[in-house]
């Protein structure tokens, strides 16, 4: 039994090291970081965290990021749920082509669309708003959401729908209170993926914002260039970006452990 876990523990240990190193940096002053090499902080210096948590130009970034990620996750799920149901239950004109077209949007490199995106959102007056970033991120999150949800929905027998319709349920009254709880795990996993890809994205978020909706990731790049290399504050801000993600994994871990197969492509 011990031997079985050896590889896993070794991998996890190695995988944690870079994160530990950043944590280590975050608790040290800049002079200490550049001055000497230590495996752990000599004196716990909390000033880096204090800077990030008290300076509005820093912590507003976290709030902005969380706002657009939340909008993105909710909107993506709201539009993807009915669409995934349609793909999973019915054949309709052009369904296969439509599905692949949706997937192609997941494949378009953000670098390709930076400038047009900027012009588009600027001309409709959405530049530097949370909704703009959320909409832009939907481009790659919605196709993925439809794909994952479709896999989960296809695992639910169609007889359930048919029985409900025969009993006189309308589509909304069947879909929201009966069908959605059945695919609860799927919704959880999809929300996790939407959160993840939106939270880590930098290029589009940086291009579509300037002041009011500037995400934390963009603020971090600015600090690198502005004040030389402020390693300590940078590391502290980086450590704090991991916290929301770690919380989300904690909530979604049971859905993943329960398993899903996605039998259909």
């Amino acid at each position: 039994m011990k031997k079985r876990y050896f590889g896993l523990i070794l991998y996890l240990f190695l995988a944690i090291l870079p994160v530990y190193w950043m944590l280590n940096m975050a608790f040290r002053s800049n002079e200490e970081i550049v001055g000497a090499f230590h495996l752990w902080p000599q004196a716990l210096d909390l000033s880096n965290f204090r800077t990030v948590l008290t300076d509005p130009s820093w912590y507003s970034g976290y709030i902005n990021s969380l706002i657009y990620v939340a909008i993105n996750t909710v909107l993506s799920l709201a539009v993807a749920l009915p669409a995934a149901y349609a793909f999973s239950r019915y054949q309709f004109l052009g369904d296969k082509h439509l599905f692949f077209w949706l997937l192609t949007n997941r494949m378009s490199p953000p670098a390709v669309f930076l400038l047009p995106f900027f012009q588009l959102y600027n001309s409709v007056g959405l530049f530097d708003t949370h909704i703009a970033v959320a909409m832009a991120h939907m481009l790659f999150n919605v196709p993925l959401a439809v794909w994952i949800l479709e896999g989960f929905m296809s695992g639910i027998p169609r007889e359930i729908d048919e029985t409900a319709y025969i009993d006189g349920y309308s589509f909304p009254r069947f879909f929201v209170p009966i069908f959605m709880p059945l695919i609860g795990a799927g919704i959880g996993v999809t929300a996790f993926f939407c959160f993840m890809f939106s939270w880590v994205e930098l290029l589009l978020a940086r291009t579509l914002t300037s002041v009011n909706a500037k995400p934390i990731v963009a603020i971090m790049t600015r600090t690198v260039s502005a004040s030389g290399m402020d390693w300590g504050v940078l590391a502290a801000a980086g450590v704090l970006t991991i916290v929301p993600g770690a919380m989300v994994i904690w909530f979604v871990r049971n859905y993943i452990a329960k398993g899903f197969a996605m039998c259909r492509v």
């Binding site: 079985r4 896993l8 950043m22 349609a86 953000p110 939907m138 880590v200 994994i249």
Partner: protein, 295 residues
Amino acid sequence: MKPINNMAWFLVLPVVLCVAFSAVIPLMTVVNYSVQDILGPDQKVFVGMEWFKATMRDPELHGALIRQLIFTGTVLTIEIPLGILLALSLPASGWRSSLALVLLAMPLLIPQNVVGTIWQIFGRSDIGLAGVAVNAMGISYNYTNSSLDAWLTVVIMDVWHWTPLIALLAFAGLRAIPEAYYQAARIDGASRLAVFRYIQLPKMSGVLLIGLLLRFMDSFMIYTEPFVLTGGGPGNATTFLSQYLTQKAVGQFDLGPAAAFSLIYFLIILLACFLFYTFLQQNQQSTDKSTGSGS
């Protein structure tokens, strides 16, 4: 068979509208740029296919494409088997499982530029743990001036960042296999390898396909991590397609050539994914038929 119902279009409509707004208009803008020479805000000359011809012959683009293919190939060959191995060795349930899952998935939720920053610090030969450790072992390592070191660092960073995705998906696939399959295998006296080959792998194929496609697309579009870590250098050792494109579009403001390049780039990914998708879908159908589960 699924019933034919064209009313289902109404259920799909919100998705189509949402995605079309952010996809079709920008795509048309790029197409528009790609056939014009933009001299100023109001000065544009139609040049037809000129930029496409120039882009196809650009030796730097060929270099970036080859580096991109090697990079994507390398990370996929490492990440997929490693992810499956990790998933197989994860404990099935209990607090150990939860703890391992959370630790394993942590790199996934770190923003791309923070990933770059972490490895930038971690790999530095003066203040980074990895840099100092490797140098102390007598191997000279410095990712800022050795091309090979820089390339290896980017590969290791990507493996560190994205192997958990494959592992999580594979783990979820494994957990969905009913216990009865394993019991049947035990009765038949199947070896560990046979259980993997004939039960676990086919049952994981759905989630692995998602993982494979996602990793292919994302590694082909990688931009932020190498940008933060190496800035594409030293020389152009870690300049991949997105990097080169952004240099052209933003740095030199060559909108026409950059747009033509964008379209070619997009078409390459599209073609590769289409081949993947069709191939795997046919594969799936043939296995469905042979095992008789036509669901």
